[in-house]
């Protein structure tokens, strides 16, 4: 298992290297640069030249990349041109918010998807199943920003149940913190829940037809034990894969949701970095999200081995 994890991490290195190249060069395809963004309307050529020298933007693009990647390897993601703070430190302060948001979204998604998908499979072709299918289609089709906006309109402005935006850190009270996270969590988690629900349903339907389920029933197992013990664990094997991919996308999806709900997470940071042409910050954020994606996939594969004894990594 250990060597497997090590090997997976080693394989991740070329992947991340490729991403670093893409991130670095694509960021520079955007019209305008850090200096024009910094100077704004006060732009003049002389000042711009000084700043370009300061940030090393006067050198050839290959040299710039070389310098940046050397520092990245040493764990230095550079300094944000916007705040003059180290990019890595900024990411660390923003990370917990995005992690919490992702966690709540996945929790919400799972709480809905697993029971609903299972029940839909059991009650196949009944109104319950149709209702679940409707939720599935709804969750996949509805854009999360629209759902978020509607929730703000209804739950915050109309009913005043939840704050419309802003973030309260955990240190200021658990409930106050969770209140700011519920709506973004639901907005982000709905599509994940819908996809996972559909996967659970179809996977469960397949498992229900398996011979070992019939055998378990022939042993005298009760219906609930049959479904939740014998069936679900088998049905979850493909669900975990889907969930893993979804979890990776949550990091991307959070860009919009964090913006709508004014949550100072990684997604919002990425957006700020783009609008300010903050190259180091943007490159750092992209690389960070990519690494997170790789780690989540690794975690999924490890969970996979835990629920499916046929998979033993070596």
């Amino acid at each position: 298992m250990f060597t497997y994890i090590l090997r997976r991490l080693l394989i991740a290195i070329p992947v991340l290297f490729g991403i670093s190249v893409l991130a670095f060069f694509m960021v520079r395809l955007v019209p305008g640069d850090t200096v024009t963004a910094m100077l704004g309307t006060n732009y003049n050529e002389a000042q711009a030249e000084i700043l370009r020298q300061k940030y090393g933007l006067d050198q050839s693009i290959i040299v710039q990349y070389g310098l940046w990647i050397m520092n990245v390897v040493k764990g230095d993601l550079g300094i944000s041109s916007l705040t003059n703070e180290p990019v890595f430190d900024i990411l660390l302060t923003r990370l917990p918010i995005t992690l919490e948001l992702s966690f709540i979204s996945i929790l919400f998604a799972l709480l809905i998807a697993i029971p609903l998908g299972t029940i839909a499979a059991l009650k196949r072709n009944t109104p319950v199943d149709y209702g679940a299918s409707f939720f599935g289609m709804f969750g996949i089709s509805v854009p999360n920003f629209w759902l978020g906006t509607l929730m703000i309109l209804y739950l915050s402005l109309h009913l005043s149940w939840l704050p419309s935006s802003g973030f309260v850190p955990l240190s200021d009270g658990v409930w106050a913190n969770i209140k700011t996270m519920i709506m973004p969590g639901i907005a982000l988690g709905t599509s994940v829940g819908a996809v996972t629900m559909r996967m659970t349903r179809s996977s469960m339907l397949e498992v229900l037809g398996e011979e070992y389920m019939k055998m378990a029933k022939a042993k005298g197992v009760t219906n609930s034990r049959l479904i939740w013990k014998h069936g679900l664990r088998n049905a979850l094997v493909p669900v975990v894969t889907v969930l893993g991919i979804q979890a990776g996308y949550l990091l991307g999806g959070s860009i919009i949701i964090e913006q709508i709900f004014s949550l100072p997470g990684i997604g919002q940071l990425a957006l700020q970095a783009i609008s300010n042409r903050d190259y180091s910050l943007l490159q750092g954020t992209i690389l960070f999200i990519a690494s997170a994606f790789v780690l989540i996939n690794l975690a999924v594969d490890i969970i996979y081995a835990l629920i499916n004894p046929k998979i033993r990594y070596s």
Binding site: A218, N234, P309
Partner: protein
């Protein structure tokens, strides 16, 4: 006069039908038979003849959906299983009646250890603690002849070979000490040497526990080897029923005769005689005998009137106009 002992299992007019898009299908049609304690009844027939459906109807593994209907009586020690609540049925499954399914590769749950799956039986039926149930599982694994039982119990099904898995399934079926064992093609998926070992095991168990066994197979060789009685099924019906010796020496139904003729014989160099045609489509059964289209002795009557299973001799029953008419003539 000695008191008539109730048979272990008495199936009366069992009919299982499915509603499908193309109409009602009777997979099991008016099937009756009995199994006594310690008796092995073989049920023989081609694929789709309703053998497995019969066993699943007895255990009520089918019949819970709206599209499935099971009628008739299944008297287990005098109690009609078809009238029981699902909860009462759960107490019978695995404890009083167990099932050994056809394909050992798929009948064990891949995500739990074999020991765990065997231990579940005493846990749910006898309230064993986890630890006691585990010892019981190891005992059962030893009993079905799997070496190093302690190690094997902790392994997953995919770590077992096919024959081992079937032994595991048998261990699971026997863990509840059932009075009736339904073995649905227990050796079909296994190679020949393993087959005979498994049959040996089933025979041993009958001798040790005195359980009744319903052995479903399409292999007449297996029937000849271990069964006492045999029922031949065709298109959902029993067409012939007799003791094994009687059936093999004196087959009456043209279908049974065809089955026996299509068996290879040692030293015989002549070509096998297959039964011409295909089993009928259950969606389009005529009002007459289902075998009529393939029968070499077909008469006009066969196409319009369904032959009933008549007592030809006391222990030998046949559902065929030819035989029954001859028998009738003799009686006159």
């Amino acid at each position: 006069m000695p008191e008539v002992k109730k048979p272990l299992l008495e199936v009366k007019s069992l009919t299982t039908s499915f509603r499908t898009d193309r109409g009602l299908v009777r997979a099991v049609d008016n099937v009756s038979f009995t199994i006594d304690h310690g008796q092995i009844l073989g049920i023989v027939g081609e694929s789709g003849s309703g053998k497995s459906m019969t066993s699943q109807s007895i255990l009520r593994l089918i019949g819970s959906r709206k599209s499935e209907q099971v009628n008739g009586e299944v008297l287990f020690e005098g109690q009609d299983l078809l009238k029981l609540q699902e909860r009462q049925m759960q107490k019978i499954r695995g404890k009083e009646i167990s099932l050994i399914a056809q394909d050992p590769m798929t009948s064990l749950n891949p995500v739990y250890t074999v020991g765990n799956q065997i231990a579940e039986v005493p846990m749910i039926h006898e309230g064993f603690s986890k630890k006691n149930a585990w010892s019981k599982a190891i005992e059962m694994i030893k009993r079905v002849g799997i070496p190093s039982a302690e190690v094997r119990a902790a392994q997953y099904p995919h770590e077992f070979s096919g024959g081992m898995r079937q032994r595991g399934v048998i261990a699971m079926a026997l863990a509840g000490n059932p009075k009736l064992l339904i073995a649905d093609e227990p050796t079909t998926a296994l190679d020949v040497t393993i087959q005979s070992q498994i049959l040996e095991l089933i025979l041993d168990l009958r001798n040790e526990t005195g359980a009744g066994i319903m052995l479903i197979t399409h292999d007449l060789g297996v029937v000849a080897e271990i069964c006492d009685q045999v029922a031949v099924m065709y298109a959902g019906k029993i067409v012939e029923k007799a003791s094994v010796a009687e059936l093999f020496s004196n087959p009456k139904h043209p279908y049974t005769q065809g089955l026996l003729a299509s068996l290879p014989k040692l030293g015989d160099k002549t070509r096998l005689t297959p039964i011409p045609g295909q089993p009928p489509n259950l969606h389009h059964l005529s009002s007459g005998c289902a075998f009529a289209d393939r029968c070499p002795f077909v008469m006009d009557k066969c196409r319009s009137v369904q032959p009933a299973l008549k007592k030809e001799q006391t222990e030998h029953q046949v559902a065929c106009h030819l035989v029954n008419e001859e028998g009738g003539d003799e009686n006159q």
